[in-house]
Symmetry: C2
Subunit: 117 residues, 2 copies
DNA sequence: TCCATATTTCCAGAAATATTGAAATATGGA
DNA sequence: TCCATATTTCAATATTTCTGGAAATATGGA
């Protein structure tokens, strides 16, 4: 992954409405959610939400698929994964044990969180 | 972690110089690097870099410790971890197997990356 | 104390981003 | 075709962020 792509993804997430959308879709999982419902759920005008969804989509973090009159958005877990990998790549000069890496982060856990830092 | 804190962290990383600093410090590991060397390495004026380091620091992603005349900056891996956890929390309505989660992302691997998405 | 080095703070102009009303486009059904 | 619904695009304004010169602060040594 090139740095420009990573910046796009991080910028996309660095805004309240978009971060909320992303997390909402993470919780939703593969089934996704239509644009209109998303806008309604987060109390944001449809056109504003459309702009936000376009940014997340362009960044490779979500995908939209038209189904009838609606467009169903869902998280692109692969894209998200690439970003996380990019951030932590080659840590500690090749000695990841120095920062306690291994299988930290991205637990994607049901409700309760493990190992609160 | 509250959403405001996550936005701070993501905003901090969503800028070229800061993302480069962060990755540089990730590679460095716990030994860190003085502010001046960082500025020099990335070819950015010292005062501009200072502003960037302050933002990363405020976001809980790096820490600065004064040593003599220098201030040594290093990554706060705990802070980074909190952000990643926040992003993927409660995915797929409690069925993380639906998105292939488990121990993905944040590999922090030496040079080669696993499972290129 | 005085000086050199290292870093940060202050400030202001330039650039990028967010927001939304209005208009345009896409789809399905009568 | 005409209409209602769903979403996106356009355009303009408001807000935030980035950047670096100049000045201030901090530290160590003579």
């Amino acid at each position: 992954m090139e740095i420009e792509k990573a910046i796009d993804a991080l910028s996309a997430l660095a805004q309240r409405s978009r971060l909320e959308v992303f997390r909402l879709l993470v919780r939703r999982g593969p089934q996704g959610m239509p644009a209109g419902e998303i806008a309604e759920a987060l109390v944001v005008p449809a056109n504003t939400m459309s702009a936000h969804l376009a940014i997340l989509s362009q960044a490779g973090l979500v995908r939209g698929e038209r189904r009838g009159r609606s467009v169903i958005y869902s998280v692109d877990f692969g894209g998200m994964n690439e970003v996380m990998t990019f951030l932590m790549k080659d840590c500690c000069q090749g000695h990841p044990e120095l920062c306690g890496a291994g299988r930290q982060a991205a637990d994607c856990a049901p409700a309760r969180q493990k190992r609160r830092a």
